[in-house]
Amino acid sequence: MTSVTPSPVRRLLSREIQEHVQAALEPLSPQERAAFVLRHYEGLSTAEIGRLLGLSIGASKHSVFRAVRKVRKALEPLLDR
């Protein structure tokens, strides 16, 4: 049977990516971070996020947009590795 255990290199890269994600989330404002975590990891819609955070849908979307821009800026350099 073929082993599916990630190679050490792969694990190291995963850890590095995780560190980059954390670093990317650090500078986000609390609102942006909340919106991104709820949208990206928890799967809530922007409407639900707006209700939860007391924001309009537009403000909720913009929080997600700003967060995604910052996360992209941090992670895109890793794509070609």
Binding site: H40, E42, S45, V64, V71
Partner: protein, 269 residues
């Protein structure tokens, strides 16, 4: 880029409208304002936009693969620093009988919760609860501790609900059953405490949670695929998780409300 406009008929002379980065983000999350088909058609015909979208997908997949961000190493210490002034005078408040001291809540549970709890805090706009003078002064320590413990409890349950909703296979469900049984026991305790503290809304959420946790903990070991899917659908992310999130937000507001100082007379000698 091609000359094919996003929302126009092929023969229209209107300028090409390419989706913005924000449009692509909405499309990625299936929240496109208009018809998702319009964006798909544009991406099919526009190499540049398709390349932008593929890059977005890859970045987002990378962020997804890393799962929830880990809590800061200092999280537990920060939580204790926040609690310590209030906890110390009444250290025994949460030690009735065999009830489990929420060490897990401040350890493992807190670690699980940290990614969201501290990331999300402060909840920015909900009106903070203004405790009445009577209630605030009657048992500020108990209130603060109850709220803090509940905060972590809700996060643990949220995590479980998300795992149930997103998991697959009987092994996942078996682990979830064990966790649900553990959480159901704690949940009963917290429900009793919340009801006793007059936190009717929180108690109601805990009541709903209790039923869900018991249902999950008593799920048959041998479930048919369709039965498993129904269970996951019923207990996974949805209305219940949303209620928990709202309750969690409420708790954070209450925890953040100024607590009256503990008088010297309350400090044990």
């Amino acid at each position: 880029m091609t000359d094919e406009p996003l929302n126009e008929a092929p023969r229209s002379r209107a300028p090409v409208v390419h989706p913005t980065d924000d449009d692509l983000v909405l499309h990625y999350y299936d929240e496109t304002d208009g018809s998702p088909g319009d964006v798909d058609r544009h991406l099919d015909g526009c190499d540049d936009c398709r390349a932008r979208y593929v890059t977005l997908q890859r970045v987002m997949a990378m962020a997804q693969a890393s799962a929830l961000p880990q809590p800061r190493a200092s999280f537990e210490e920060e939580l204790w620093q926040r609690l310590a002034p209030a906890v110390t005078p009444r250290r025994d408040w949460w030690r009735p009988g065999r009830q489990r001291i929420p060490r897990w809540a401040l350890g493992a549970g807190a670690a699980i919760a940290a990614g969201l709890l501290l990331s999300i805090a402060p909840w920015p706009t909900a009106a903070p609860r203004v405790p009445s003078a009577d209630s605030a002064e009657a048992q500020p320590t108990a209130d603060l501790l109850l709220l803090s413990v509940l905060d972590v409890h809700f996060e643990r349950v949220s995590r479980l609900l998300v795992e149930v909703g997103n998991g697959s296979g009987p092994a996942d469900l078996l682990r979830a059953r064990v966790d649900a049984e553990d959480l159901a026991t704690s949940n009963r305790l917290y429900h009793h405490a919340a009801a006793g503290a007059g936190e009717a809304v929180i108690a109601e959420v805990l009541d709903d949670l209790g039923r869900a946790l018991v249902e999950l903990s008593r799920a048959p070991a041998e479930l048919t695929p369709s039965g498993e899917a129904r269970l996951r659908n019923r207990l996974g992310p949805g209305t219940l998780l949303f209620k928990v999130r709202v309750a969690s937000a409420t708790i954070r507001q209450q925890s953040a409300a100024p607590q009256p100082a503990v008088s010297e007379s309350e400090t044990p000698s």
